[in-house]
Amino acid sequence: MDATVAFFYDLIPALSNLPDWLSYTIIGAVLTVGAFLFIAVFALIGIWLERKISGHMQDRLGPMEVGGWHGWAQTIADTVKLLVKEDIIPEKADKFLFKFAPFIMFTASMAAFAALPWSARFIPANLNVGLLYILSVSSLVVIGILMGGWASNNKWSLYGAMRSAAQMISYEIPVALSLIVALLLTGSMDMQEIVRGQAGGIFNWNIFGYFPLLFIAFIIYFIASLAEVNRTPFDLPEAESELVAGFMTEYSGMRWAFFMLAEYANMFVVSAISTTVFLGGWQPIAPFLDFIPGPFWFLGKALFLVLIQMWLRWTLPRLRVDQLMYTTWKVLTPFSFALILLVSFIKVL
């Protein structure tokens, strides 16, 4: 937090004249609102982008009307529509949990934004266990899903929720293990330390460490993170042809929008983690490109990974539950264990 406070004091010197409690509250509020705005804007752009990308992949145009240029205002119009929609809660649902679930999911994915390093000086909360923190809060998402699916009192929702719980808990293991491989290289859980360790151009990034060992770790992380955020080919919790819409079946209007918001925020969070841990965070591709500010690189790399996620969604069918479990327990987990052993050996030697 100190670095952030210093950053804000630099930005607006008047803040440092206020009493500590007031300035901290102001900074905290600004950051929260900023994070929320970022997620909202990112989701708006992300959904629009996904529609355009899927449209062009599928030989169609996607949204073209609303707003003029390539339908840029389509998602804004949709948001307005969702805001004014009738609020439907199934009669037999557990009303409190049903209302509460979207907030848990959204809060969990928003909390992860606190520890993302945007540039050398700007990180909302500079924790010395930043990575651990992100991993743990993003696991809370599953509670929201389980709650929503169960409270809906719909069998399809419950199936989706249970699948989701099983899937996310299973895939957390390869996610954590593949990150440990990178941690062995960096020796720190501090997000900024991890990024600083990758200074000096693209070949110093962790992804090329002990080539190809960390590259494999990156691939494992990427696959497992797809499953963690329920993207194709691991979108079983929302599998349309099997479970209607999974845990979201009974949701509509703004509550549904919050689920979507959380989903897109999660997409960004997992991409941001792999950017930080494997792709050099805010470090430029080559040292002479230093003059371009850090957030540009950070955002650019993360968005690139988000684009890959969207690309995969429109080119792959989904796996079946048993194949999904096979992939994590018999392929990804043993491989990441082997990688940990190999990297530790090399490091000790």
Binding site: D59, S241, R320, D322, Q323
Partner: protein, 369 residues
């Protein structure tokens, strides 16, 4: 420790994105495994067979083509051939060639829809967009030829309704060339996709020994390695003058059925090209009496056509009056979508239900008529 599994009832349909139309499957599941399945139809019954008993012969043609939405032409063909058999009316050779062309075009169009459905049931939504978009080129051809995009009412007793427009053959060839080129894209996106292979190989297997006994027809039967195709076994129109082989694939699983259909698209393209090459000149219609006073001699006929989903049979009885006495439709979807599906779903994963259903070519409008 023994685990007691509770049986749950799931109702898949009639409103469910994974179902191929207006029907419902009642699934008894433990965990993710289907223990029993019961199909419930009756959401789309239009009583066509009874309706036709109260219609003039000519009025039956607009009804039969609505029996199966994605593929109306085999129905028209069946009814026309049955009437011609009862009447003993000759069909000009050019009309026969045109009929084969229309039938094969509708087969391709139907397979394109199926490809999209099969991929969509596995969660790959790019394929439906592509295939439905490309199918539109065939519908454009139909629109030019018959005036209708989906329901054509083009084949009728004594031939076809009108001759090909000027330059139509060239446009057909152009569409065929385009579709053939697109098939490589489909291969790369879907048929060679590792995840598709994982989802389809060894899933939804039809036992080869049981296939005939259960009345399986069409691509599911050929996917079991049994060479059965009405176009070869009992050639109608000019199929005996055309060069093609029955396509079979071993295995009997979803993959085998998919590959049979995939290769039959290419085969149909080659058949249409042969038809365009060999098509003779001459009239396209052998006119009958005034349709309002059109009486058929008393008699009956059973005709079969190979549709995209399998053998399609019509049993037509005439008592010598203005109206049919009985028209019975034997469609492949009833066998595949009701009795066969119930057998195949036992022991299947919930995720595979809609995939299996699509691979059998279940078509609820045809089940109920």
């Amino acid at each position: 420790m023994t685990q007691v599994e509770k049986e749950t009832t799931l109702y898949l349909g009639p409103q469910h994105p994974g179902i191929t139309g207006n029907m419902m499957i009642e699934l008894k599941v433990t965990g993710d495994t289907v223990q029993r399945a019961k199909t419930h139809v009756g959401y789309l019954h239009r009583g066509f067979e009874k309706l036709m008993e109260e219609r003039l012969w000519m009025q039956c043609f607009p009804i039969v083509c609505r029996i199966c939405v994605p593929e109306p032409d085999p129905n028209e063909e069946n009814l026309a051939r049955a009437i011609e058999e009862i009447e003993g009316r000759e069909v000009p050779e050019r009309a026969q060639y045109i009929r084969v062309m229309v039938l094969e075009l509708s087969r391709i169009a139907s397979y394109f829809l199926w490809m999209g459905g099969q991929a969509g049931s596995m969660g790959l939504y790019t394929m439906p967009q592509w295939t439905v978009g490309d199918r539109d080129y065939i519908l454009d051809l139909f629109e030019e030829l018959t005036g209708g995009r989906v329901y054509h009412m083009y084949i009728w007793a004594g031939g076809v309704r009108r001759d090909l427009p000027d330059g139509f053959a060239g446009r057909v060839r152009r569409v065929l060339d385009y579709l053939e080129e697109r098939l490589t894209d489909y291969d790369r996106l879907f048929f060679q996709n590792a995840l598709f292979l994982k989802r389809s190989q060894g899933v939804g297997v039809i036992d080869k020994d049981k296939a005939m006994e259960w009345g399986v027809v069409g691509p599911p039967l050929r996917g079991c390695g049994i060479a059965h195709d009405v176009r070869k076994d009992e050639p109608y129109e000019v199929y005996d003058k055309l060069d093609f082989e029955i396509i079979t694939h071993e295995g009997g699983d979803i993959y085998a059925r998919a590959m049979v259909r995939r290769r039959e698209i290419e085969q149909s393209i080659s058949i249409i090209r042969q038809v365009l090459d060999k098509m003779p000149g001459g009239p396209v219609h052998n006119p009958g009496p005034n349709p309002l006073k059109w009486k058929l001699p008393a008699g009956e006929a059973y005709v079969r056509t190979e549709s995209a989903r399998g053998e399609f049979g019509y049993y037509v009885v005439s008592d010598g009056s203005l109206k049919p006495r009985r028209i019975h439709v034997r469609g492949p979807a009833y066998v595949h979508g009701v009795s066969l599906l119930e057998k195949m779903l036992v022991g299947a994963n919930i995720a595979d239900v809609s995939v299996i259903m699509n691979s059998l070519g279940t078509c609820p409008p045809e089940i109920e008529r």
